[in-house]
């Protein structure tokens, strides 16, 4: 195996380098939860994982939804996803942190 091949194998098999991050969340509108993300799908990803988690935390601070009485504009299930849409573990806690968990989430698609 050539060195280049070995390096390519390491790149694809060891640490996956994402192209960017988004904050995904559920927003309560018209009496139901809708999934949205920030920045929007058509916009450029955030390049910084730190910034993405900081944005997620700040969004979580904007509301404190009551699970029994949801109101329009409430945010729940706030977490960070990579450019593929996979949840990523928080660099702060080391696990799959979710701010304001409200309903069962999909299991993490990818683990390190």
């Amino acid at each position: 195996m050539k060195i280049d091949d070995a390096l390519n194998r390491i790149d694809t098999g060891w640490m996956i380098k994402p192209n960017g991050f988004r904050v995904q969340f559920d927003i309560y509108t018209d009496n139901q939860w809708n999934t949205d993300c920030c920045p929007d799908e058509e916009l450029v990803h955030l390049k910084s994982e730190v910034t993405a988690w900081r944005l997620a935390w700040k969004l979580a601070q904007t509301c404190h939804p009551d699970p029994d009485r949801c109101k329009n504009g409430d945010l729940a299930n706030i977490f960070v996803v990579d450019n593929q849409g996979n949840r990523i573990p928080s660099y702060i806690t080391g696990d799959y942190t979710v701010y304001h968990p409200q309903k069962p989430l999909k299991s993490p698609e990818r683990t390190e």
């Binding site: 640490m15 380098k17 994402p18 910084s48 994982e49 730190v50 660099y91």
Partner: protein, 286 residues
């Protein structure tokens, strides 16, 4: 006698003014209006190009060329107004322009020029900021803490200047120390993994971690990686934050600065203080 000469000069001036005054006035009027309009147009034109093609085209150079061509036409118009022939004047101006361009090309290496352009981030004489403008006497630098500094060009010529615009990428250097008892391999792997996982860290010139030093009760690890020039500062700050927290999760302790001090026995003790023979374990502390 003197008065007579003055009167003669005045009469001659009056004669010239009667003949050409009207045309000269109109010509100067065209020149002033033309130059003002030209400046306005070029500013708009440059802004438009910056907005639409800023990244792909050499906007500054294109604007300068368009400016020179339009100035050529304005001057031509002025001369025609006075009464000169358009073709003759056009030819004359073209010859003069080409001569000046040739002169500038030949002599340019010998002109003292500033080693930066407007918009470059620079470090000059203790000031770190962005070059906003330059003129014959000063360079305006807007520092990153919001101050406008005017640095004399004479001082710049004598100073060491760092222009951060010159290279596309920059190397991030983060040194971390772990205790002797720490897991060196785990720390190295963690550092490398954090750097690789960041999208802004470049793939070519791969991130590296070196064991740099082994002194003072600790092992010093050097993490090195490359990133784009514009991402340098934020990437470095983010990496430091992520490395610290990842070390916490992985239970890798950072080494604290440590110094070993041995206390000599007091005078009057049985041992000879000058002999240097004392029990370090007894009187020492760590």
């Amino acid at each position: 006698m003197e008065k007579l000469f003055l009167t003669k000069d005045y009469e001659r001036l009056k004669e010239i003014m009667d003949l050409y005054g009207q045309d000269l006035l109109q010509s100067m009027f065209i020149l002033v209006i033309g130059v003002v309009l030209l400046q306005w147009f070029i500013r708009r034109f440059r802004m438009y190009l910056d907005r639409t093609r800023g990244n792909q085209w050499p906007v500054k150079r294109i604007s300068a060329i368009v400016y020179i061509i339009l100035l050529f036409f304005v001057l031509n118009l002025c001369f025609v107004q006075i009464g000169f022939d358009f073709e003759t004047i056009g030819l004359f101006l073209a010859i003069i322009s080409l001569f000046v361009i040739a002169l500038v090309i030949v002599l340019r290496p010998y002109f003292p020029t500033l080693p930066f352009h407007v918009g470059n981030p620079v470090f000059i004489d203790g000031f770190f900021g962005k070059v906003m403008a330059t003129n014959m006497y000063h360079t305006h630098v807007k520092t990153f803490d919001g101050k406008m500094v005017f640095i004399p060009n004479s001082k710049i010529m004598k100073s060491v200047i760092t222009n951060y615009h010159g290279t596309p990428g920059r190397r991030i250097k983060i040194d971390v120390s772990i205790p002797y008892t720490g897991d060196l391999i785990k720390a190295k792997q963690t550092l490398e993994a954090v750097m690789i996982a960041d999208p802004r860290v470049l793939v070519t010139l791969r991130p590296q971690v070196w064991a740099l030093d082994m002194e003072g009760g600790r092992v010093k690890l050097g993490a090195r990686c490359w990133t784009d020039n514009e991402n340098y500062w934020l990437t470095k700050c983010d990496l430091i934050e992520m490395i610290k927290l990842r070390f916490d999760h992985e239970s890798i302790r950072m080494a604290l600065p440590m110094q070993q001090i041995f206390l000599r026995p007091q005078l009057g003790d049985d041992s000879d203080p000058l002999s240097g023979e004392f029990d370090a374990n007894e009187g020492g502390c760590q």
